[in-house]
Point group: C3
Chain length 142, copies 3
Amino acid sequence: MEVSTGRSFLFRVDEGEEIVGYLTRFLEKKGIMLGTISAIGSIRDPVVAYFDRDEGGYRNIALKGDYEVVSLTGNVSVKDGKPFAHIHVALGDQDGRLYGGHLVSGETFVMEVFIQELKGGVLERKPRENNLSLWDAEKLED
Amino acid sequence: MEVSTGRSFLFRVDEGEEIVGYLTRFLEKKGIMLGTISAIGSIRDPVVAYFDRDEGGYRNIALKGDYEVVSLTGNVSVKDGKPFAHIHVALGDQDGRLYGGHLVSGETFVMEVFIQELKGGVLERKPRENNLSLWDAEKLED
Amino acid sequence: MEVSTGRSFLFRVDEGEEIVGYLTRFLEKKGIMLGTISAIGSIRDPVVAYFDRDEGGYRNIALKGDYEVVSLTGNVSVKDGKPFAHIHVALGDQDGRLYGGHLVSGETFVMEVFIQELKGGVLERKPRENNLSLWDAEKLED
């Protein structure tokens, strides 16, 4: 879907916030229904998830302690009439090893976030046969 | 090179597509010759590559099974007169461990892609002595 | 903080440059005081860091050899009156394993960089009790 760019936001989330909940509240407060998210920082006790196609569901991986947020990449679209943030993260431990997946939750230590609002269309997450809520796929007619 | 922003696209690639080929067809169809790419999702049997300077070539690493696409970061420029996508990925396995490198290929399960077209100049990949096809380097005169 | 988009830059850094120093000089030369940075490429002998909250400081991790830069994600703001680049990286070794953290230094082999200047406000890094230099946190009043 072709879109246009809307508002842009660059900010730091305060220490001690649950990041996914905070970002969702930010989106709701600003009325952002479509966009992209990128962040770097540091997080405590993150929970990430891996989607297991055979089991047809997410498998949670709870990490303990503090991790560098090496990348946080996501998008914003509509689910059940509200803004929904879909976020993946790469997380570094004290030895520089990386872990990650779909971000479920985590407590911010430092989090510097860039959100680019997009406009000009609606992408809605709808339940699919594979147990995921997905946008309609883009068709590339030849 | 200073550039300006062109069109923006946010979309989902259908399940079962070879991702690098799909993105290249998307760029060709839309006529995007310069830009940036970012995506998250899930991929099957990805092949990534590591450039070995001593051997002067890429070394392929074939991963088996399904991986979370924790980050997919790339750019678009011109090679042999056509749009060329240069893409790197971070991939998470079922235990949250990350793997990655230069993306060679992979079959999409879910892939949510943001492409930002850029305008105002041409970056062309040309063969270099190091066996890579690279843009001219930016010079920072002091 | 809501911001607007300024100039955009897409370019390759020449081989043999220390990447953090090069990007800082680029920002100074162009007068970019606020923005985002994204890059992919390949780097030699990178040093990354992990912030240890208990010790209240960064712990450096020196990696030896060549690594794919799977993602380089950062932002630009003001520190001591000058542009300051805060950068995190994910790095892939020859077997596709990923390492990373806060980027301290590294010598470019290939580096393809996108910088998006932002305008409309100032974010300044100020020393905090936790030994980090941080922007004021965004407040989400309900």
